[in-house]
């Protein structure tokens, strides 16, 4: 993979050994940032365009789900993943059900599986970004079309018969509807995803 296409990801764990280990595993496929606390993670998110954030659940001060809830509130569109020991499963289930998490992984994780999940997540990020871009790109021609139809209705290009008027109304409504949907896609919003078994 070429250097430039590596996804920037952020790994958060209060144990440096874990960060060191994960960086070693992921350095070849991702641009890896690490943070030892929730606060540090939020700081990094402000400074770098992170595509994926993966955090431990059990940390002092700010737990993983707390961190991800706060990330959800920012403009970051990063895919959120949590990895956890079994004792924290209840908090994680809640977080998943509230749509705050894309995936959860258990500790100890399987290195191959982890890479796969991260690739998949990044793909998901790309799709999300592409969709938003597409909708953004659609917006301009849609708005132009809308203006044209509006002009048509107002008789700027000559008188319309009643049938033409009705047709203009119909097209206008359809475009308005599409635009409304395009606007709806705000950054940071994503659907909740499949539950782990």
């Amino acid at each position: 993979m070429a250097e430039t296409t590596k996804h920037p990801i952020l790994v958060v764990d209060d144990e440096p050994d874990i960060l060191f280990s994960l960086r070693a595993l992921l350095r070849r496929d991702f641009e890896v940032y690490t943070a030892e606390s929730g606060a540090q993670a939020l700081e990094i998110l402000k400074q770098h365009p992170i595509h994926l954030i993966m955090t431990d659940q059990r940390m002092p001060e700010m737990t993983g789900t707390e961190l991800l809830t706060r990330v959800q509130g920012t403009s970051s569109q990063a895919i959120r993943i949590i990895f956890t020991g079994y004792a924290d499963i209840k908090a994680v289930i809640d977080a998943i059900n509230h749509g705050q998490i894309y995936r959860y992984l258990t500790k100890p994780w399987d290195p191959d599986e982890l890479r796969e999940v991260l690739f998949e997540a990044c793909q998901h990020y790309d799709l999300q970004v592409a969709r938003e871009k597409l909708l953004r790109e659609l917006r301009q021609p849609l708005e132009a079309g809308m203006a044209f139809v509006q002009g048509l209705r107002e008789g700027r290009f000559g008188e319309l018969n009643p049938l033409g008027q009705a047709e203009c109304e119909r097209v206008c409504a359809a475009i308005r509807d599409l635009l409304a949907r395009a606007i709806k896609v705000e950054p940071g919003e994503s659907e909740s995803h499949e539950h782990p078994v």
């Binding site: 144990e15 050994d17 874990i18 060191f20 280990s21 994960l22 070693a24 595993l25 020991g85 079994y86 004792a87 499963i89 209840k90 500790k107 100890p108 994780w109 290195p111 191959d112 982890l114």
Partner: protein, 418 residues
């Protein structure tokens, strides 16, 4: 009550036997001390009534032998004698006699004296029974406490070990990947060894020497195996931690109604291959059961752990019996019985202890049955085991139809988790 009656005089013996049998006793007679002693050694008699003066082994000697014989349960010994001297009585009691009957025999006195003996034997039996019950209760208590504290320890341990296992496993994967890549580079370099010898003879000699010294070829061919073995070892550690976690019930799950007969069938299905491999016979005596509220996955695990042990204990073509029935008092009973090698009595009290195993090192973690124990306790049930070495083992599981409410949302050891 069973009475051993010893008298060398046929008539006296007959008279006494008639009396005793009329009072409802079961009488075994002997004509002399030797015959009585022989009989005593093979049978149990709570009451022995013996004539004093007999050829060879007399009554006192017989009682002395009885007293010296290590047997559970007390024997009430009565000497029948014409002797009434103080010294004689002392000698008789010294030998271990509990009472005396004087000749000629008075039927009324005989009756009340035997009844005293009977009373004492019954008291003694009650005492033994109570003692046994007490000991059982005590050992059950010790077992529970032992497992409770072990459970807490296990919970803490599992959590603490998890992180290091996580990064060590990960580091190993990184090492393997990067080491293999480095080896590839090294191989490319080595292919240029001849060329290197031309340009840099000293460097080529040094690398050659170093490679020989560490046996580079061996290292290269063995490295994958080294990684495999290390990874397998780590996986074993991880499994142990997982089992410990199950034992300590660190994860939550909810009670749902389940058909335990179906659960048994499912588990047997999982073991289908093992059963077939050993040509095992399966006897299935399952009665209809009401739905039992439980954590079905865990109950399956209990069945699996016990059945696995049963299969392993059985010889080829062994038999495993499954029984289920509804018990009075709103509970169900599941019995899993095998005709395998059985459990040694000295192992029996340890089989639910974590890490106790009789399997060869590395084959069993010694956690299967302790996990089963933990799960059943968590369901408010009971698990019991009976075993006879060489004959087989029976596990008896009882589960209530109403699960304990108190344990919900807490772990089994009464601690709420933070």
């Amino acid at each position: 009550m069973k009475v051993l009656l010893v008298d060398d005089d046929v008539l006296t013996r007959l008279v006494m036997q008639t009396h005793l049998e009329r009072w409802g006793h079961q009488v075994v007679t002997a004509g002399d001390g030797a015959a009585a002693w022989e009989r005593f050694q093979v049978e149990e008699f709570p009451i022995v009534i013996s004539d004093w003066i007999m050829p060879e082994i007399d009554g006192v000697e017989l009682i002395r032998r009885i007293r010296a014989c290590p047997r559970p349960g007390y024997v009430y010994a009565v000497l029948v004698t014409a002797k009434s001297q103080r010294e004689d009585l002392i000698a008789g009691m010294e030998a271990g006699a509990d009472d005396f009957l004087s000749k000629p025999l008075d039927a009324e006195e005989f009756r009340v004296r035997v009844r005293v003996g009977e009373r004492i034997i019954r008291l003694e039996q009650t005492l033994v029974e109570q003692n046994r019950a007490l000991r059982e209760a005590q050992s059950a208590l010790i077992q529970t406490e032992k497992l409770a504290s072990l459970g807490q320890l296990a919970a803490g341990l599992a959590h603490e070990i998890n992180n290091p296992i996580a990064f060590v496993t990960n580091n190993l994967a990184v090492l393997r990947r990067d080491m293999m890549a480095a080896l590839e580079i090294l191989n490319l370099y080595q292919s240029a060894q001849a060329r290197l010898a031309e340009i840099e003879p000293t460097l080529a000699a040094t690398t050659h020497h170093l490679a020989e010294e560490m046996d580079l070829a061996f290292f290269q061919s063995h490295l994958p195996r080294l990684f495999d073995k290390t990874q397998a070892g780590l996986e074993r550690v991880r499994d142990i931690v997982n089992n410990l976690r199950d034992f300590a019930r660190l994860d939550e799950s909810t009670f749902k109604d389940a058909d335990l007969n179906a659960a048994l069938d499912t588990t047997v299905e999982i073991l289908h291959h093992e059963l077939k491999k050993k040509q095992m016979h399966l006897v299935r005596c399952l009665e209809e059961l009401p739905p039992v509220p439980c954590q079905a996955g865990k109950i399956n695990q209990v069945f699996l752990n016990i059945l696995l042990n049963a299969v392993q204990a059985c010889p080829t073509e062994g038999t495993i019996e499954l029984h289920s029935r509804l018990l009075p008092g709103a509970q169900v009973e599941i019995v899993i019985r095998d005709n395998g090698s059985g459990i040694k009595p000295e192992h029996l009290e340890h089989i639910f202890d974590p890490f106790f195993t009789t399997k060869p090192l590395g084959e069993g973690t010694g956690l299967g049955l302790s996990v089963a124990y933990g799960i059943i306790k968590e369901h408010g049930g009971a698990i019991e085991v009976e075993s006879q070495p060489g004959r087989g083992t029976t596990f008896r599981i009882k589960l209530p139809l109403v699960p304990p409410q108190a344990t919900r949302g807490q772990d089994r050891f009464g601690q709420t988790r933070g």
